[in-house]
Subunit: 162 residues, 2 copies
DNA sequence: TCATGTTATGTTATATTATAACATTGGAGG
DNA sequence: CCTCCAATGTTATAATATAACATAACATGA
């Protein structure tokens, strides 16, 4: 399998994503157990669907997929599961797309920073200290208490640029 | 009139905002004239409404206000005017609020960076080089071409924290 | 001036995203 | 079994945004 300098950001096309997904769900189960939060079958199923790819998923696409899997589902079904997963830090909301993506490191609390490809929709999640520091410095200078920093960088990923 | 170290970010409550607004519209007119873009009465009216305060405005609130001013208006009326103003860099869209705010420096092309108060909704627009550099550094490391960086920092402004 | 193409606006309908409100289900603990 | 509570089901509707087509305003050259 080929690797490149960029692999630490975007997952290559041929990576073993089934494993990413299994691990993400297993991690979620562990975390929820630790916290006494209930990762019910519905919530687990939504998390699996969100983890379909390293790309944000729309709420109504999740709804369609739940229905395709013979589950009774209406918009609140999906939004409530998403709310739970957001609260637990297991997924992030991508504001600029009204979409949801799995968190790559739910053990550590963090606000997401994202590189999002406009062509293939792939997302790379960052947690860059320099961006964080720079934001904090500006906030401090303004006497501003940061609650939820949102950093979403839209553009073209290296694979799509080729 | 009192001033404080934070004034360069958030406008104080007692600043002369009528003047901000007049200047913003005048600047817009100048810019559009330079570019051969048409700041029609409708577009100018929407820009004035967006500049009501240093806070993001919702599209449907603009719609209501246009109607209150005896103008025939439907959603496309507003969205088309907003699209024009966005293209000209005269306003920014706040993704995390589905709302629109006047740009404080439309002469220079830039992506907005915003501090947004969750309490009073006031917005401070930044164009901080350090944040920009940090973002660019990460993008470069990932082989990513930045097209539209979005930085929206939600929190509590100094006035509301007091 | 008029014909013509182009841009802007009006109009109707509908798509997309999200929440309110209330009913039902199904365990955990007594 | 009963009770409580969290989770889910269900119906309706709110909030945000766009598609598609009609008309009006405007520019520009014949
Ligand atoms: Zn993967
Ligand atoms: Zn994350
Ligand atoms: Zn002002
Ligand atoms: Zn700006």
């Amino acid at each position: 399998m080929q690797t490149s300098a960029h692999d630490q950001y975007f997952r290559s096309d041929d990576h073993n994503h089934a494993r990413c997904r299994r691990e993400a769900v297993a991690t979620a189960a562990t975390l929820c157990a630790q916290r006494g939060a209930r990762l019910t079958p519905l919530r687990r199923q939504v998390l699996e669907l969100v983890w379909a790819r390293h790309a944000p998923v729309l709420a109504y696409d999740l709804l369609d997929q739940l229905r395709a899997r013979q589950r009774r589902a209406a918009p609140p079904t999906v939004y409530r599961a998403l709310d739970f997963l957001l609260e637990q830090g297991l997924i992030h909301r991508i504001e600029s797309m009204n979409a949801y993506v799995g968190c790559v490191d739910p053990f550590v609390e963090h606000a997401g920073q994202f590189l999002i490809c406009n062509r293939c929709r792939s997302v790379a999640e960052l947690d860059d200290a320099e961006i964080g520091e720079a934001v904090k410095a500006q906030a401090t200078a303004a006497g501003f208490q940061v609650m939820r920093p949102t950093v979403e960088i839209r553009g073209i990923c290296s694979a799509c640029a080729r």
